[in-house]
């Protein structure tokens, strides 16, 4: 494998990690807002809080990793995306900033305010929507380069059916991933009330998520035929995704093996996300930038890969400890241990 491919695979893996952990977090925000509005808050509040409190910071780092890493491996992305995305990028930062800090203010400041909950819920849907537009832009036709200047075509972006399809796909996926995880977490916590409600949400959002996936798949053929055909060539990955989805939904519906069901949801998104990404290659930004002409020098690539491996050796045991103490510790999950 060339360094270019290793580099993009590393980054894509981090983005996938962000997709999963952030979806759980974003969806949890929306569910906690929604249940509050419908006065079912008491049912889900504890489950969501207990999961989120120790891990919220970790979520953000996955994203930072991705955008610092991509500048390291593919410095030209800073030039193209950096110039084009000033406004949408800034909006995403502001949403992330409000979300992160108001979460901490509400949790540690020990005061529940309707404003905090609203911000937390609303940003949970707006952030994935705004971040997903970066993937849309990468398909080409939304960014032009003229006289050495890179410019984003807002009219094109907001008028595109594909663009809105991706936004919807992102939102329903967030809700589905989150609900299926929280269902599992509630079952671990032996919290029957929360389990019943969250399982219902998981089932509600399951079909919209797969439906939007299929719709976007076909919309892409109009947007970027080359990418679409590459995806058709990788059809088996999307077949794996569909099968994983079917198993996950079946298990949740049958009230069995919620843990396995969530792993299947992860497989569903893994296969689809990597199928999409592999078919996108070699382009980082169609048609201007490929992984080959935007790549860093070889010395830096080797240094980054070594740093990455060393970092993983440090992080994996730490993450394992975090999960053991908070995700898989029965007493903690059931709420028998507390206090900071």
């Amino acid at each position: 494998m060339s360094y270019e491919v290793v580099g993009i695979a590393v980054l894509w893996t981090f983005l996938y990690g962000y997709l999963i952990v952030a979806s759980v977090d974003f969806g949890a925000g929306f569910f906690s807002y929604y249940t509050k509005r419908t006065n079912k808050n008491h049912i889900t509040h504890n489950i969501i809080q207990r999961y989120l409190s120790p891990v919220w910071e970790v979520t953000n780092v996955f994203l930072v990793f991705f955008f610092i890493g991509i500048v390291g491996f593919f410095p030209s992305t800073a030039y193209y995306y950096g110039t084009a995305l000033l406004v949408p990028g800034s909006v995403a930062i502001i949403l992330l900033a409000l979300r992160g800090s108001y979460y901490a203010f509400a949790t540690y400041g020990a005061k529940d305010s309707p404003l905090y909950t609203f911000l937390y819920g609303a940003t949970g849907l707006l952030i994935p929507a705004s971040l997903s537009t970066v993937l849309t832009i990468s398909e080409g036709g939304f960014v032009i380069k003229e006289n050495g200047n890179v410019r984003l075509l807002y009219g094109e972006l907001f008028g595109s059916l594909y663009s809105w399809g991706v936004v919807l796909l992102a939102i329903v996926s967030v809700l589905f991933i989150s609900a299926s995880f929280l269902t599992y977490y509630a079952s671990r916590a032996k919290d029957e009330g929360a389990l019943k409600l969250l399982r219902k949400y998981a089932l509600i959002w399951s079909f919209p998520s797969i439906l939007m996936g299929i719709i976007v798949f076909f919309l892409l053929s109009k947007r970027n035929l080359e990418h679409y055909q590459n995806m058709v060539d990788l059809w088996w990955m999307f077949a794996v995704s569909l099968a994983a989805f079917a198993i996950a939904t079946y298990l949740i519906w049958k009230k069995r093996n919620y843990g396995l069901a969530f792993i299947m949801v992860m497989v569903q998104y893994f296969a689809a996300f990597f199928g999409y990404g592999a078919a996108h290659l070699p382009y980082l930004l169609y048609p201007y930038l490929t992984i080959y002409d935007g790549f860093t020098n070889e010395t830096m690539a080797i240094a980054l890969i070594i740093a990455f491996i060393a970092g993983l050796l440090l992080l994996i045991p730490s993450l394992y400890l975090l999960m053991r103490l908070f995700l898989f510790d029965a007493d903690y999950v059931e709420g028998k241990k507390e206090a900071m």
């Binding site: 409190s53 120790p54 910071e57 970790v58 953000n60 780092v61 994203l63 930072v64 990793f65 955008f67 610092i68 890493g69 500048v71 390291g72 491996f73 593919f74 410095p75 800073a78 030039y79 995306y81 950096g82 110039t83 995305l85 000033l86 406004v87 990028g89 800034s90 995403a92 930062i93 502001i94 900033a97 992160g100 800090s101 108001y102 979460y103 901490a104 203010f105 540690y108 400041g109 020990a110 020098n297 010395t299 830096m300 240094a303 980054l304 740093a307 970092g311 440090l314 992080l315 730490s318 993450l319 400890l321 975090l322 103490l325 908070f326 903690y332 241990k337 507390e338 206090a339 900071m340």
Partner: protein, 447 residues
């Protein structure tokens, strides 16, 4: 007011984000160490007051971490959004420590999450203490890695430019450039110093407000002893910085010191104002001191501003920033040393009102010194973004709407800043130390 100039607005927005972020970043580097010291004291002396101190500091700390994380994410992305050409060059040369910084922070974030929620989880107190060590290491390593990037901007090396193309890149040489040793030790130590003073100012304020509890006195003593140690360290490193500047960025040193004529036995200019004709007035001049600072002896020849090309001299007002930083640094060192001495001689009272007020003032003053120091460091590099390689104007975006973004972020930071203060105040007002001691059955007269 201005004609739209993306370079100017990019500079303003970056200044705004960094000026706000650095408050939380500084606390983020220093406070974990203070927490670790307090928890360790609690175990060593078997004194629950110190343990509670660590616990309460950690609780306040996590709120500032949240703002630090989100503003850190902001600057991380803004670098690419506002300085795409610079980041393209930086990615090729100094991408490694930037990448490693995220690892260090990741490591810290994981253990912070664990640390906060496991106070009562383990039977052995030492086990919980062990969890704070990765937080301290992660926080300090983050500062180290990100400061190497800033050092690189001041003293770029580890690459060649042939016909406009970067070649022969050596990431380690770029990272360990001549500016790295003095800069990273100065940044890390001054963060420790500032954090100790902020916590000390809070304790002093409680005593002034009439809290009689020994808890506050212990907190004040602990922070002042730590501050005295960090202040001495910071001063020693300041000397190294002078020698570094003399050798690698003489124009920055000359501008900071309003040193116009190249000469030996150069004197150090303290304070003063500069007239239109570049005459220094009302300043305190210490003979030979600049030569000694620059090269260790009075015979050192220090290049003056008149011998640099005019368009490569940074704005001369950085002298004020430099002096502000130095004066506050001396104030903090002297004050913490005074406190330690007063406390050490049992018959003197270290907790008298003037000293306490001086400590209260020292907290915000320390933060001003951090801001002034960074303004000096950054403006002192002008017109360069990469010293001698790329100017700020070459590095900036060409995008429209940077001005709009500036206003948006101004509003964002105002909201975050105000809410952060309100939340912290409420948190500790609702749960004062006396009440918490009571609740946890800790005796008032514990050792």
């Amino acid at each position: 007011m201005f004609e739209y100039d993306p370079v100017l607005y990019s500079r303003l927005l970056t200044t705004l984000t960094l000026a706000f972020h650095v408050i939380f970043a500084t606390l983020g580097v220093g406070i974990p160490l203070m927490i670790a010291i307090a928890e360790w004291m609690g175990i060593r002396r078997n004194d629950p007051h110190y343990t509670l101190m660590a616990r309460r500091w950690a609780r306040g700390f996590v709120v500032t971490v949240a703002v630090g994380v989100v503003t850190g994410t902001a600057i991380g992305l803004q670098l690419s959004l506002l300085w795409p050409n610079f980041m393209q060059a930086a990615g090729h040369t100094i991408g490694l420590p930037m990448f490693m910084e995220t690892f260090a922070f990741f490591f810290e974030a994981i253990f912070l999450g664990i640390y906060l929620y496991t106070w009562d989880r383990f039977k052995s107190k030492v086990k919980h203490f062990l969890l704070v060590i990765p937080i301290v290491i992660g926080a300090t390593a983050s500062a180290f890695f990100i400061t190497t990037v800033n050092s690189f901007m001041n003293a770029p090396q580890g690459f060649n430019i042939i016909d406009g193309v970067l070649t022969d890149v050596s990431p380690l040489a770029a990272m360990f450039n001549p500016a790295t040793p003095s800069k990273m030790s100065h940044v890390i130590l001054s963060s420790y110093l500032t954090s100790a003073f902020i916590l000390g100012a809070i304790a002093a304020f409680h005593i002034l407000k009439g809290s009689k509890h020994v808890y506050h006195k212990k907190a004040l003593h602990l922070t002042m002893v730590s501050a005295a140690v960090f202040a001495i360290g910071t001063a020693l490193v300041g000397d190294l910085s002078g020698k570094y500047l003399h050798e690698y960025q003489p124009e920055k040193l000359a501008a900071a010191e309003w040193h116009f004529e190249t000469e030996e036995k150069a004197s150090l200019v303290l304070g003063g104002i500069l007239t239109d004709g570049n005459e220094v007035r009302f300043a305190l001049e210490i003979p030979y001191a600049l030569s000694i600072l620059a090269g260790g002896s009075a015979d050192t020849i220090v290049t003056g501003l008149n011998d640099f090309p005019e368009d490569e001299v940074p704005p001369l007002w950085i002298h004020y920033m430099f002096d502000l930083m130095v004066f506050i640094g001396i104030y903090l060192a002297a004050l913490s040393a005074l406190f330690v001495v007063l406390h050490w001689r049992k018959k003197w009272n270290a907790f008298n009102r003037p000293v306490l007020w001086a400590v209260v003032a020292g907290g915000p003053a320390a933060m001003f010194a951090i801001e002034a120091g960074w303004i000096f460091a950054e403006v002192g590099r002008q017109p360069w973004i990469l010293n001698g390689v790329m100017t700020v104007a070459e590095g900036a975006t060409t995008s429209a709407h940077v001005d709009m973004m500036l206003y948006l972020f101004l509003v964002l930071y105002a909201i975050l800043g105000v809410t952060c203060v309100v939340v912290l105040r409420r948190m500790f007002k609702q749960n004062p130390v006396e009440a918490e001691l009571e609740k946890r059955n800790i005796s008032h007269q514990a050792v």
